[in-house]
């Protein structure tokens, strides 16, 4: 058993610290807000050129918090040299993966931290316009972000000749209108361009041809909220928080059958069982833990007996065949019906498939139909193998990862709870023995 050395009990939150009214620009400024952005714009000794900012963020190893876990600074370095034309930063606040509800906390409690992070990113990549794409259902948070952006314009942090540096940048909110697929980065670009959210074929990657054919970088909102801390305290400070290969603070969203569900800011690398028992107050009604989905509905499910010594970071989770995802953890107790639960996940992906690629459009539908048949007690054992077969015909055969996201939970839930699925199926009439 691996013991975790992460000291999460004494952790002081930095993304959403315990400061009243931090969403107001004056309070944010009083607490050192916008100093990081100011320093990259004006402190030419510390930040002689844009590249030095990118290098620092790359060294910090902020792994993308939207689910893919790619080093943010490395992503920034893919932007081609500036040619005088427009360049874009698109911030992903679509947040639609079931189990994920973290970015809304940033919009509500610390929007200026995200704005500052986005502005630092924009300056480092010489971006001319920033868009933040927020899911349409978050109407209240869209309004809160708009207010914060208006205040930042008024404070001179956005607009023309920012803080007298000669750097110009605009910042706009773009509201979605109800489509999970728009959280996929190229689909989000299509949606920003005013079209149906169909993911694009890559290459060309957005850094080469993004919004309106111009260089574009896409980052998750939480990823950008980590940037001001790295600029103020250095890459080393950040990479010393939590697990070595997946460092930094994480906004954990815990939901399901726990006593205190909610969003918690803690370092990466916390033991999964501590997160459930100590942070989220343990299981509801004294029930036994049955299973955990660690990072949003697409990440493979874990049985309770697989959790010993497993910590919330990509390396540890990989050893049990799952992923960090968005750190939106869904906890299930002993009474949970795995067939019903999996059918509901399949129903979600079928509803949200954009319909562009055949394996996903048809595959998600068949997964749902076959699972419904089993759920209603009409399935046969061979249907389980049919489901597994469908997943292999979907995975890796489509433009974006939605097909994979739909296939993984089906394959892993069946493999890890096979007895329960078989018990729901009709006994075979063809048995020989």
């Amino acid at each position: 058993m691996i013991m975790s050395s992460v000291d999460w009990k004494n952790y002081e939150p930095v993304i959403i610290p315990d400061i009243k009214d931090l969403h107001k620009i004056d309070v944010y400024r009083k607490n050192g807000g916008y100093n990081g952005f100011k320093s990259v714009l004006t402190d030419k000794k510390k930040w002689p050129e844009q590249k030095s900012v990118i290098d620092e963020v790359k060294a910090a190893n902020i792994r993308g918090r939207g689910g893919a876990g790619f080093n943010a600074g490395l992503k920034w370095s893919f932007m081609p040299p500036a040619d005088g034309g427009p360049r874009y930063l698109a911030c992903n606040g679509d947040e639609s993966e079931p189990g994920t509800f973290k970015d809304r906390k940033i919009f509500e409690y610390n929007p200026h931290l995200f704005i500052e992070g986005a502005l630092i990113a924009a300056y480092a990549m010489q971006v001319t316009t920033i868009y933040v794409y927020i899911r349409g259902e978050y109407k209240d948070y869209i309004d809160m972000m708009q207010n914060a952006i208006d205040d930042a314009y008024e404070g001179g942090y956005i607009g023309k000749d920012i803080l007298g540096s000669g750097y110009d940048c605009d910042f706009y909110v773009h509201s979605g209108a109800g489509a999970y697929i728009c959280g996929e980065e190229t689909s989000m670009l299509e949606s920003l361009e005013g079209k149906r959210g169909y993911p694009r074929v890559k290459p060309p990657f957005p850094a080469q041809k993004g919004l309106w054919g111009r260089p574009t970088t896409i980052n998750n909102v939480e990823t950008l909220a980590h940037v001001p801390g790295v600029i103020k305290n250095g890459a080393e400070w950040f990479s010393n928080i939590g697990a070595a290969n997946h460092p930094g603070p994480i906004l954990y969203g815990i939901s399901g059958h726990v006593n205190k569900p909610g969003v918690y800011e803690l370092p990466s690398g916390i033991p999964v069982l501590d997160l459930i028992d100590k942070v989220a107050g343990g299981m509801r009604n004294g029930k036994k833990l049955k299973a955990v989905i660690p990072g949003g509905s697409s990440t493979p499910i874990l049985r309770a007996d697989m959790l010993d010594g497993i910590t919330m970071d990509s390396d540890s989770l990989r050893t049990v065949g799952t992923m960090m995802g968005t750190a939106g953890m869904v906890v299930m107790d002993e009474d949970t019906d795995m067939v019903d639960m999996l059918w509901r996940i399949a129903h979600f992906y079928h509803h949200e498939s954009c319909g562009q690629c055949t394996p996903c459009r048809e595959g998600t539908g068949w997964l749902e139909k076959v699972l419904l048949k089993i759920k209603n007690g009409n399935g046969e054992i061979k249907d389980l193998d049919l489901l597994l077969d469908i997943t292999t015909q979907m995975e890796g055969r489509t433009i974006c990862a939605l097909a994979d996201a739909a296939a993984w939970p089906v394959r892993n839930t069946i493999n890890r709870f096979r007895d329960e699925f078989e018990a729901r199926c009709k006994k075979s009439v063809h048995a020989v023995a």
């Binding site: 079931p98 259902e137 209240d140 079209k195 569900p261 954009c354």
Partner: protein, 183 residues
């Protein structure tokens, strides 16, 4: 003749047109204004049926087919008239685990409609929807693309329905971070 009158009935006000100009200024082209202008239209007319879609297309000088394609892709645009209040009950994963279906079925019984239907008096449309991003506060529903009502119980549903019938709207429910004292 009736059809023509209906089309003519849909017109943006001066205020809307000013807002549309502001929206257009955010983007280097006109097409990106499609989603936000559909929102403006839905706010004004309560839905974006094919006639409203045509108005949006003509206002932006875009093909009708483009606007129809966009409106039909996104679930939050109402492609037909809905009840005065639309109740979008989340039943996805965390909400399912915490009783989202109990809430949906309770509302079906209470309002005397099935999901997807509107009550006879035109007051309520009941929908089952996918994850709304309030997983820690399940079960929950959203009222007409606006306020979230969290931690639902049958009693809370009863209160909500009474409140909406009285012409009042639910308020924003602030939910803090459980590990903090001040927020």
């Amino acid at each position: 003749m009736k059809q023509i009158n209906k089309i003519m009935a849909y017109e943006f006000t001066k205020e809307d047109l000013d807002e549309i100009e502001k929206i257009k200024a955010k983007y280097p082209e006109v097409m990106p204004a499609t989603l936000p202008v559909l929102w403006v239209a839905q706010k004004r007319f309560g839905h974006v049926d094919p006639d409203v879609q045509k108005l949006v297309a003509d206002t932006l000088d875009l093909p009708h087919s483009h606007v129809h394609g966009v409106a039909s892709f996104y679930t939050q645009y109402y492609k037909e008239e809905k009840g005065k209040h639309v109740l979008d009950v989340c039943t996805c994963l965390s909400c399912q685990l915490c009783g989202g279906y109990d809430i949906l079925h309770y509302l079906e019984e209470k309002l005397g409609v099935q999901k997807g239907e509107t009550t006879e008096d035109g007051m309520f449309t009941l929908n089952e929807v996918e994850c709304l991003g309030a997983c820690g506060y399940a079960p929950m529903l959203q009222v007409t693309n606006d306020k979230y009502v969290n931690h639902l119980t049958k009693e809370k549903v009863d209160e909500l329905i009474e409140m909406l019938k009285d012409g009042k709207s639910p308020e924003y429910e602030k939910i803090g971070m459980p590990q903090r004292e001040n927020i």
